[in-house]
């Protein structure tokens, strides 16, 4: 089939990228001719029944309590705040993502739970308040003490390890959302004709003859 036909096959014509993606969303179909386990009502195309069941089960579980979620939310927004270009981590629902991830990847549960508790004990000892209840300046003070691995004091090292994990999960959780992807400026994941690095970019880096 030619390229025009193949675009039609995907359900897209000569539309803009965003519309193309919408049109490509799969309908609720079971795997073609899959006779193992009759598909459930909300089964996604291409998903095996046990995958759907696992995510459903995970979504019904709850790991973090309300206090932990509140702490995660404050931390996430300190790590990735709202700015001129895009919203904050909590605007992009990063705390909910972190909750799902620790259920999906249980090896993160103790480092996260323990790290949050470690943080609260630091704050209680310093400020007589938990992290979420401390004043903004105090929150920034304790974060500053664990956010710079090369500068942190040795007794803060567990906090550094926790904050590295928290930073990683926040960044991944943010930049894989629609908001984060637009912030980053990623313009792929849509039908394209790749003809190599654009000429102006080749010139910028002196790569015309490589």
């Amino acid at each position: 089939m030619n390229r025009r036909d193949s675009l039609k096959f995907l359900g897209i014509g000569t539309l803009a990228a965003a519309t193309m993606v919408e049109a490509c969303k799969p309908k609720n179909e079971k795997l073609a001719e899959d006779t193992t386990n009759k598909p459930g009502e909300n089964e996604e195309a291409g998903r095996l029944p046990n995958e759907v069941a696992r995510d459903k089960k995970l979504n019904e579980e709850k790991f973090f309590n309300d206090h932990e979620m509140a702490t995660i939310t404050v931390l996430a927004d300190i790590i990735i705040p709202k700015d001129a270009r895009s919203g904050s981590a909590s605007d992009a629902k990063v705390p909910d993502f972190i909750e799902f991830i620790v259920k999906d990847m249980p090896e993160n549960q103790t480092p996260m739970r323990g790290g949050l508790r470690w943080l609260d004990l630091q704050c209680l000892n310093r400020y007589n308040k938990t992290f979420v209840d401390a004043a903004s300046a105090q929150q920034l003070e304790i974060v500053t003490a664990i956010a710079y691995p090369k500068k942190a004091k040795p007794e803060m090292q567990q906090g550094v390890a926790f904050f590295n994990l928290m930073r990683d999960l926040t960044a991944t959780g943010f930049f894989t959302t629609k908001m984060g992807i637009e912030d980053l400026g990623y313009v792929g994941n849509s039908p394209n004709k790749w003809t190599g690095v654009p000429a102006d970019v080749l010139k910028q880096y002196g790569m015309e003859n490589v």
Binding site: T36, G46, G180, I181, V187
Partner: protein, 595 residues
Amino acid sequence: MTSNLWSLISSLEHHMNDIQIKKSATSYDAIVVGSGAGGGMAGYVLAHAGLKVLMLEAGPFFDPAKDSMQLKWPYESPRRGASTNTRNFGDFDGAFGGWDLEGEPYTTKDKTEFYWFRSRMLGGRTNHWGRISLRMGPNDFKGHHIDGLTDDWPITYDEVKPFYDKVDRMIGVYGTVENLPNEPDGIFLPPPKPRLNELYIKKGAAKAGVKVIAGRGSVLTEALPNNKDRGACFFCGQCGRSCKVYGDFSASSCLVIPAMKTGNLKVIPNAMVREVLTDANGLATGVSYINKDDMQEYQVSAKIVILGASAGESARLLLNSKSAAHPGGLANSSGVVGKYLHDSTGSSAGGWLPQLLDRKRYNEDGTGSIHIYGPWMSDNKKLDFPRGYHIEFGGGMGMPEYGFGFGMQDMNGAVPGRDGKMKEAGGFGASLKDDYRRFYGTGFGMAGRGMAIAREDNYCEIDPNVVDKFGIPVLRFHYKWSDYEIKQAKHMQETFQSIMHEMGAIYSPMEGPETNYGLEAPGRIIHEVGTVRMGDDPKKSALNKWCQAHDCKNLFVVDASPFVQQGDKNATWTILALSMRTAEYILEQRQKLNV
């Protein structure tokens, strides 16, 4: 008798009848076990020639057009595309199954570390593979003369070339004609141009004395003129998810589904074959399989049995198919079935390019296969290991997924900020958020994939004590890397360091002896071949040069099990060529087989 006794007897009969062996009334011209590259090609050729073929696939039906996760955004997965137990390469990856299949264990002995990736689905692992499509060269088929360390295949490159040519035309592969002695050129579609990071790799590799050419991938960078079923690639970079327009090679989309349209190929999914059945004369008569949907056992007969279950699984089937005529397992009078198992060597490295901070954005997805490739060019006389490896390179502005942004504290302290001043590594807030933007698209990676020497004492056998959930005895692996493979990995690491240095990249020190220089554990590269090797001597091989069993003339094997010695080339293209060759041989020989 009392009515109580009657009802007891009839309830016993009812329970005893719950599991049966159901014998199929239909007899087929051929049964093909497995629907991957080898099984798919055999089914395709035979069905198009008018044979009635039954294909048994252990996993569910899979049609990339309907079932692929292509073009989904990371936020359409709650884990943003991270891997799971059931999709080891990512939530959108095109392979079901993986290293651990529930109820289908394998075992190891003598401190073996072996990982076995099984993808139970129509098309098998061809749905998610990297589409890197390399012909084995003359020195790969006949390498003994080089250093005496390997056994020769009973066939030459020239005998296989016509089939490579046909596969190229039929399925499509991109690349450039290079006239390299052991990297035979194909009939190529135009290759995709390098991404910006890949231009830096090319430039750095040239300075390091490492040859880099265009990649060779089974992706339709142009439409195939004689094929209306497949669309041309539209450069989304997601071949690993399988392609909704059949723009890349999957056995499901390119072989099995088209073959079904002839009306001559019946596919039964969720059918796990237990053993090959033979008659008193030792000829194959059919197979016994369990249907996972109704959990009943079926026997079906055919004039020819063709195994394409993958190296490992095909050996397992043969070893589990013992009879009076085949006491050591079917086709195993030589005792070689299970032996000479080998996987590719693999070691990798990566880094980032400070020159690419603050890049201009454009769509750089490209294809999902390699844009550039490093063939093995070195002189082994100067080295402490035999043969060699190729290098797969990549880097660019890809779609964010789980893992994006990890480890920023190892990067943002290494270069000046926007204000020109060095900053403290790590951090938080607006400046950190800006760092993710600045560093986006600076990363790259490289991986060596090399030739391991096939050895008799790297093997799989049947574990005498363990069965899977279907009652089928499982494989037990015995495998060790030798010093040759470890030294090859060391050379890979040294080469990567040299390239990255010449690129002006920032990167970590090389892997050291404590990790075997980053040499992946056996099985991890998922190129396992051998176990039912071909040869001219029935005392030293299980199959003849047509992949026909010496001991059983109506039994053939068409996956990577027949490989005598893998080259530093991925197996798939050779599997396709050999399977086509074997299928055409079957057609020519049908008279002689009295079928």
